[in-house]
Assembly symmetry: C2
Homo-oligomer: 525 residues x 2
């Protein structure tokens, strides 16, 4: 046996579930607090997605009970459409299975890993199954217990019952050990508070282990528009993607394949592209070779297209961000900005929105010791962890905040809110807590932050000028009695009258709020 043979005797194949069991930190299971927040995050985002896809105003109930030391039971119930019983097992105990992975659709979940990760973590820490109660059909309730066959990446279902009853949605009950609840910025309570901030159309009820009950009532009674699957935008499509689409296309010609597959690809645009290539677009799409695909992609790069159709992207919107900021932070000043849609790799459209709140309750801590706080969201789901690896944090740190009157960003009473909306968020890992540093997203976040930065900058400078004028006024006021006395002696006028006149003059010139530089601009955009 050669050396190579000896070494390769150990060669094995593994399932994706085994991979994530061994590397559970990649799913967010590192640290006892983070693990519990990850669980709440996975269940709640699934619930919100299910409701929104079915056109239902979400009503999410979360309860965390302590059963022992580092041992908790988590119950999450939504009022969504329910899960057909044939799919319950795969949703909760099969990784890379789901409805979202292959579609261009703006939802929080997208990988078909999260809920199965919870089942796995429950099982490996407590040995117990996850209980599911769901009503996929009016008047009928289905109940079962799911275990995870990790080696085969397949569900094991037991205790199935079906009975008549009134229930809407899905309820998940699972136990976990090796997790801890606390009230920190990284815990489930803060996660749900931020979720409420970014989702004013959802009602969220949270019962903490100490039985405290938090109800975030619905502030907006209209559902955000239902996310629709979209077509990829031609800009940024890779040769490989194009070839893949072409070989699976049902269209008869390359031209009709292009117009049917891509967003903003009109018949005229397809003709324009054909002219830039040596390819006959009447050929069948499955005849496209790598070379052809390269030619088409090059031609697409040279062609102008409308920005991606955004009818399938639903950002929070400036009004909602403003509402969230005013309600929660009561700032002295704020500015918000929703950028126009842009596209990254593979024609994926995205929108960056930012809000900045200054003074008031903004920032972490109070008064002079307040520090800047950055709240990151992806499709309205709060990102609490892995801040260091996130494109948002990177851009926030790169911006020269001194230009906007903030000497050192850390020590400013400000809250910066950034939400990235996309049909596919490029997370740095399956734990979905940080957005990858992709050039196009980097640039959009920077532009948005600079825009609100300018607004804050003018506000801070205006306040500083007010401060300077007030200082001048105070100095002048100090000399009033002396000057009035001296003039009274010279002219024989009443010192009192002179004092009143002088005070009036000074106050008129340096009155607070009358700065002589136009009306206040309290917000931008």
């Amino acid at each position: 046996m050669t050396k190579a043979d000896t070494i390769f005797k150990e060669f094995r194949e593994h399932s994706v579930a085994e991979f994530f069991k061994k590397n559970r930190q990649m799913l967010g299971y590192s640290g006892k607090i983070r693990s519990l927040t990850t669980i709440v995050h996975e269940y709640v985002t699934n619930g919100l997605d299910a409701c929104e896809e079915a056109g239902i105003l979400p009503d999410i109930y979360v309860r965390i009970e302590q059963l022992g030391n580092e041992h908790y039971r988590v119950t999450v119930q939504d009022n969504g459409p329910g899960i057909p019983k044939t799919h319950v097992g795969k949703v909760f105990a099969q990784m890379l299975a789901g409805t979202k992975f292959h579609r261009f659709i703006q939802q929080r979940g997208q990988q078909g890993i999260g809920a199965s990760g919870c089942t796995m973590y429950s099982q490996i820490t407590t040995g117990k199954p996850t209980k599911i109660v769901t009503s996929p059909q009016k008047g009928k309730i289905y109940e079962c217990e799911v275990m995870f066959d990790v080696k085969r990446n397949r569900p094991l279902i037991s205790g199935e019952v079906e009975y008549p009853g009134d229930m809407q949605g899905t309820k998940i009950i699972a136990e976990f050990k090796d997790v801890t609840f606390n009230w920190s910025d990284y815990g489930p309570a803060e996660y749900l508070r931020r979720t409420a901030v970014a989702n004013p159309h959802a009602k969220i009820t949270f019962v903490a282990p100490d039985k405290q009950r938090f109800v975030y009532e619905r502030a907006v009674h209209v559902l955000p528009k239902k996310p629709k699957p979209s077509k990829p935008h031609p800009k940024g499509i890779t040769v490989d993607d194009l070839l893949d689409y072409a070989h699976h296309a049902k269209a008869r010609t390359i031209k009709s394949f292009l117009t049917q597959t891509f967003d903003r690809m009109s018949s005229a645009k397809a003709d324009e592209i054909e002219k830039l290539t040596s390819i006959d677009f009447k050929r069948k799409p499955d005849s496209v070779t790598w070379r052809d695909a390269e030619e088409i992609v090059d031609a697409i790069k040279k062609t102008k297209f409308l920005a991606p159709n955004t009818s399938n992207l639903y950002p929070m919107g400036e009004k909602q961000i403003e509402k969230a900021i005013l309600n929660v932070l009561e700032p002295e000043f704020h500015a918000v900005r929703t950028r126009s849609p842009s596209v990254y790799r593979g024609g994926v459209p995205f929108i960056v929105e930012v809000g900045i709140a200054y003074g008031g309750k903004a920032g972490k801590g109070n008064g002079d010791s307040a520090k800047t706080e950055v709240m990151r969201f992806a499709n309205r789901a709060p990102l609490l962890f892995d801040a260091g690896g996130d494109v948002i944090t990177k851009v926030v740190n790169e911006i020269d905040w001194k230009r906007y009157g903030m000497r050192k960003l850390d020590d400013v009473p400000a809250t910066i809110i950034v939400n990235v909306t996309s049909t596919y968020i490029p997370y740095t890992s399956a734990g979905k807590q940080a957005i990858a540093d992709i050039d196009e997203i980097h640039k959009e976040v920077a532009l948005a932050l600079m825009e609100v930065g300018r607004s804050v900058g003018s506000y801070i400078r205006r306040e500083a000028r007010k401060g300077e004028k007030q200082a001048k006024r105070k100095t002048l006021l100090k000399y009033v009695p002396e000057v009035a006395g001296a003039v009274a002696k010279l002219t024989g006028d009443s010192k009192k009258e002179l004092e009143v006149k002088l005070l009036d003059m000074i106050n008129r010139k340096y009155a607070a709020g009358q700065m002589g530089d136009g009306p206040e601009e309290e917000r931008d955009g």
Copy 2:
């Protein structure tokens, strides 16, 4: 059809390769420079691992050629044992297949994803296969081209040839587009320089796109001890792991299963554990229930064990770190520390080593503008990216460096080297660029840094005292002529002689280097 049925019509299953194709940023493919470094990293770590496992001093050759705009060819050749032809396809085009994933063995690669990720990235950016030339048997060479069937996560092999010839090892040739070479801290050149720093037993040759040739000669002619698979340590084993091991055990009794499976589990220890439980250890291991496993794990927690057997962990060692620091950084002062082995989750042993270099060529930039530089390594492989998410960066930022005489860490001419050695590095993502923030590792890194921090602190304070003494000396020297003149007048002695005597007195008391506080401690640990 119910709402639920409509939504779940879209339910699909996906392969792990499709997942990583869509989420290629998780493998390190985000950004054109990072992508090229990722490729070099994957091929080079595989080459080093192969050589070391076969007991061969590594000789790694890397060439990067520019073929066009953002289009490069990468060639990597090692002198390892070669790959048996039946395995070539799976090594380069099947994810989660490999020799390392299931073993407790200290190697750089561990997931069976990296090399397949390169094949995928080459294919989706150029449409071309990856060429492999390997000699798994003396005198015989096997050559083929590998494409990746991403949907099925399986290799497609073509152009197979076998011929006689003299070659040792494996050569990989692949083309990539959408990548860029540069000389920055994040590029392949810096990656290979740092690899050479941490692997003085390897010869590394690098030919850059501009034909510049860098040869890092072997500085140590002894191979690090060959990594051996180890047994998991009982401390930190989870109930689930124990149950899994028990149900796959070939032992006849629970007792023999425990002593055969775990490190440091002597017959006496197994008896001690049996007494703490209600379980008869003569039962068959496959009869162990979750409850039993919980009892055993609880008993293990109450039992003292020897620290993990470290004969299968090979840290760089203080001498090698010192050599690396002295060769490359020529610092004024340095301190190194290899901590004792520790264990994290599931009984995985690890060792933290740190080195700190101060002054000289240490730090980024030169002279007064020099800034602190942190070099992170995992099993001697440099980690260039995702610094923000890494436990090492977090600990470095948490340490109160002021206590060690460094006012603000950023502005100090220091290089901090941290290497984590383990049979399984808990990376934050499949891109293997950051180590997860796991409590046990966090603590070890902190302790190690504080130890070297103290050494640097005493050095800096000593230097500061030297500076103060020199200042005193200068002040006294200024008064020598005056004092000598005055005394000469009083006593009639020669002013010249008095001056000489006074100078001598002052110099003796304040001579540089004679501080009166014991011999220099140039290093710690």
